[in-house]
Symmetry: C2
Subunit: 663 residues, 2 copies
């Protein structure tokens, strides 16, 4: 035991945030606060002082900020993360003998007790502090000590002893020899702001031509950029752009045999034209791709690529690295299956291969290759079918060099698995949003995402549709249903996306109404989309996305709170900035067919409103303004006009007292 | 990275119980179950197998039990702790390729697919398992493999492949090379059963004489043993029995000056007659004490001593070890104070002393001294005013040699501090019970103690009174109040105690009704108690304690559940054994003055009752029997008769169908 060990009397426990005992980092974006709480206390009744320590991970020196006492031994403090990368934080506490002495002295004074010896004790503490002090302060402290122990004028000495100046000076030079440092250095991954707030548009490049029946190219994609940018998106996600295999290629509507002109699924990667580091020849060249990247940037759009780590039987890896696949006793390679379903066009990698280290390195090389082309966002296909350890390693290795890279986990699977992927490093995650349609479902799920520790590491990215998911709700609900789901995605989530043009054109025909596949799915064939169709939701989407951009309240997930409405079809929730300068209240009618009315209860005090003053609700969708007074308010929403309100709450309402002549 | 590291695909997380990330052990008594749950899963859709590993701490070899799947990736298993001391537990999981293969084979069969290659794959798995198998099993497995790959009769081969015998045999020889072991070895402290279930009686030896005015002795205590044993107690706790200081000795009713015959407070330890390893001469000799110990044992009573680590100015330590105290600038030793209160008769130890290691060792020597006399239970005075690290060390050192020792923490302080003391090793803890009198208070506090992780490490010991605490409730409520508080203590807590004879004689006169001190407190003077007074609660206490002994349901804390009654003065709760063989339902009228009635709602299914069958409620206090039918039942409790029911629930009620001739 160290010589001071027995004297370390301060306990630090119950630290929040701390994910799985510190095993995983929390996530933040630059400019965010990291607010830390802990139970900090000592034996006896002495005063405790404590600080929050933080540093950038590769900076050996800690910065510190004082913690503020809340109640019941709980303390809180925060720091702001300014740089992208990783930070560390921990806590330190110690018994503050000077504060204890000062507190006791006050009580003794109040009880008219003799404090002459206490003054000497205090002087000794001040002398001791002077030895830890900078030059000027050292002299000041010694002067104070002198006065405290002069003994000539006890009343004056006591008055001096309690002066704030002395307390502040002493607080600068505490005796921290016996301080307790929390045993863990907890980590923060700091991303760029787009990790926290992003608006995605998914599009198949091969279907974006204006010439019906022809295979779209990267050049055609460039022509679509204005359309996408005008709708207010900032990430354009492309399904895999690599050569597509021929062996067991799927035909239209997932037919087991492809016709001679069927293009195959973009997720069936690899042919004699190359694999994961090649571009499908009919889309263009690598140079064309880089040109698209540059053009997109001019429109404020960032291109996200798909990482689908699997091969067709035609992929060059199959010949070059047969050890990366699982071999069956009949000398064939094990194709993907989920019995009784067979995916003979796909060979999964065998991560239990003896050559797993080579395999990991090659997959890393793929990511590096696209980073070198300028890509910084990846949507990862089915990460839950590859080992967790692999992702933790890959993301760490990539982000060490390129901390600005964003990985979106496309895992639609059980909750523990989805959360684990987020904990181990995925920047954003797909969610169950597509299947949460009723008020109780939405409230329960989004309360879990926003108001529990999940919020520290899981950044939801909400998609009302994807090429795999045309939900029952959209199949049945027509245009109002698309508007409802768009508003929910765009306001419940700081990150959301749509798969277009299917979405803005309200495409809702399923291959089979018992399933969620699109009829004539783009996964297996080219599609022509009339993006300028008069029924397109593009202007509505543009309006919603502008509201998101203009209201920082909608750019975070953690402030989400639901408010009671006495109608199960009307859902109401608010989000706000930390300083309550921007408060947005959303009311959605979940029923795409009927008008609903109800009474809403708002917690005015929590929203920083004076319950005795009127306030203005400005509907940013319709531009209508309402004057509300109490927390209880009437709502009426007709889904055939607009199925929602997105109110900005304006605190100040003018009255006669605002006129110059009122005084 | 190890060669298998990349192939370890199973994740283990969300382990319960696990206190503060494994920093502290959980607590059990011999014969208890340790039930462990965890989230265990892998990537993809393969089957997972997992086990719970446990061992005695000094046994290098793990035992293992399989875990059972619950839902949502959650698994559960348990082991029973048979020996006193410390155990460790952890978990291990792996991908079970044989189970995966078997599951897939079934699905393929159901879909009428060709499985000839699958049979070869299965045969290879069986051959591989044979190399891990014991001699006989090895041959059996090879025979199975032979049959699977014979190819002659595919239908037969498939039938054989799915046989349970093969699955069971394979389960014995899994491939665990790539298994994941949970990163922590969690600890269990296993105590003897008295740690979980004990009934305490606190008594001042010096007041237990039958000769009014004379100082009681250990011999007099012996004469009291039958009285205490008849009431059903099993621990007799004595306040400090050491020499009492003279300097600044307190007089009757805590007067600042003691009169010439005032005996002083037993907690003011140390005089020229000795310190913490000496016996107060007027109580007798060390030999007398050992004799009392032996006599108590004959009555099933275990003596608990008080550990009050503080000294009077007359304690030998003050001269022998001046460094163990804090010196003031005027050359005096710092006495205890809680400004403006001064305790000049008490010198606390200075745990920040440079000589802290000597001090710790000496305090350990004190405990060892009394262990050598035969004491195995200690009630620790104010542990929250000494460093946490000291207690953690002391308790660990003592229990390493004497794992049967029980430490009760007498800390009445803030919740985090109380819980920390329990976590770091105290076997039992005083609680806020004395100040929880209303139904909402009791429900909230005891739900926290019994239904959260607190239950894993904090064993409440409930005291309706102590020499320091005569609550308002007891001051005001007279005899029914004492009965109410006794029943609550004895049934809400598996461990409880009373300070007698004040309690059984319903002594309720406070020194000052604004406080909780007894008038003529035994802390400062001798008292004569008429233990055979006709109004004594001794027979009632004996009855309640017998009910506790006879009903194992009342010997645990974790099964406590509250049940709704539509009257705020009637509280109802149940406790049960794990197998529901013993279920006790307690109903208490919290109002000591008025009869109350109400309707109770019982969750029959949870209590293992058929909601369509009547059941019998046997009131163990009154011996009355009631026939109840549904979960909704009428209650009426008159506090002037007995303020409670303690029902034993008897499941079986005889009907005409039980008669021989019914058939």
């Amino acid at each position: 035991m160290e010589s001071q060990e027995g004297g370390r009397r301060v306990i630090i426990e119950g630290v929040k945030p701390e994910i799985d005992g510190g095993r995983f980092p929390i996530k933040r974006a630059t400019g965010d606060k990291v607010q830390v709480e802990a139970d900090i206390f000592t034996d006896g009744h002495e005063a405790v002082a404590c600080v929050l320590l933080y540093r950038k991970e590769d900076d050996p020196d800690w910065s510190e900020v004082p913690l503020t006492f809340l109640v019941n031994d709980r303390w809180r403090g925060y720091f702001v993360v300014r740089d992208i990368g990783r930070y560390r934080y921990t806590l330190q506490g110690w018994v503050d003998r000077f504060q204890t002495w000062r507190k006791d002295l006050k009580k003794k004074m109040a009880a008219d007790q003799d404090v002459s010896v206490d003054l000497l004790t205090g002087a000794a503490l001040v002398v001791a502090a002077s030895s830890r002090a900078a030059d000027g302060d050292c002299a000041r402290l010694l002067a104070w000590a002198e006065k405290l122990q002069s003994g000539a004028d006890p009343e004056k000495a006591v008055r001096l002893a309690l002066e704030e100046d002395l307390a502040e000076l002493m607080a600068r030079y505490p005796d921290r020899r016996r301080s307790t440092t929390y045993a863990k250095e907890l980590a923060v991954v700091v991303d760029r702001p787009r990790a926290r707030f992003s608006t995605w548009y998914e599009m198949f490049p091969r279907s974006c031509t204006d010439k019906p029946g022809s295979h779209g190219t990267f050049k055609d994609c460039e022509a679509r950029l204005p359309h996408i940018a005008q709708m207010g998106f900032d990430v354009l996600y492309l399904p895999p752009i690599h050569p597509i295999g021929h062996t067991h290629r799927k035909g239209r509507n997932n037919a087991p045999q492809a016709g001679p002109n069927d293009p195959g699924s973009p997720w069936a990667i690899g042919s004699r034209d190359g694999g994961h580091m090649s571009v499908h020849p009919r889309l263009g060249t690598l140079e064309d791709f880089r040109h698209l990247l540059a053009r997109a940037q001019e429109y404020g759009l960032e291109i996200a690529l798909d990482l689908a780590f699997q091969c067709t039987p035609d992929h060059p890896y199959v010949k070059e690295h047969p050890q990366w696949f699982r071999w069956r006793p009949d000398g064939t390679i094990q194709y993907a299956e989920n019995p009784p379903k067979k995916y003979e066009d796909i060979y999964p990698f065998d991560f239990e291969s003896d050559q797993w280290q080579n395999l990991w390195n090659e997959l890393h090389a793929i990511v590096r290759f696209w980073i070198d082309q300028g890509v910084r966002i990846f949507r990862v296909d089915n990460p839950h079918t590859k080992p967790f350890a692999f992702w933790e390693w890959l993301i760490a290795v990539v982000k060490k060099e390129f901390p600005e890279v964003i990985f979106l986990a496309e895992a639609f699977t059980r909750p523990k698995v989805m959360y684990r992927l987020a904990k181990l490093g995925f920047t954003q995650s797909y969610t169950y949003f597509a299947w949460r349609n009723t008020k109780p479902e939405l409230v329960k799920y989004f309360s879990e995402l926003s108001q529990t520790a999940v919020c520290e590491y899981f950044r939801p990215n909400l998609w009302p549709n994807t090429p795999d998911i045309l939900t029952e709700y959209l199949q049945m609900g027509a245009r109002p249903a698309f508007m409802i789901r768009l508003i929910l995605a765009a306001t419940l989530g700081a990150n959301y996306g749509i798969y277009g043009p299917a979405f803005e054109l309200c495409e809702n025909t399923a291959r089979d109404i018992r399933g969620e596949e699109y009829l004539h799915s783009e996964k297996y064939q080219l599609r022509d989309w009339d993006i300028n169709h008069p029924d397109s939701l593009k202007d509505f989407i543009a309006r919603v996305n502008r509201i998101r951009r203009e209201n920082p309240a909608l750019q975070n997930d953690g402030s989400l709170r639901f408010h009671p409405v006495d109608n199960e079809q009307l859902i109401c929730f608010s989000k706000h900035t930390e300083d309550l300068a921007d408060i947005v209240l959303v009311v959605v009618n979940l029923d795409p067919r009927h008008t609903h009315t109800g009474w809403l209860e708002l917690p005015l005090a929590e929203l920083g409103l004076d319950p005795h003053q009127p306030y203005q609700m400005h509907d940013l969708l319709s531009d209508a303004r309402y004057l509300w007074y109490s927390g209880r308010n009437y709502l009426e929403v007709n889904p055939h006009v607009v199925p929602a309100h997105i109110f900005r709450l304006r605190r100040r309402v003018r009255t006669e007292r605002d006129f110059d002549y009122f005084m």
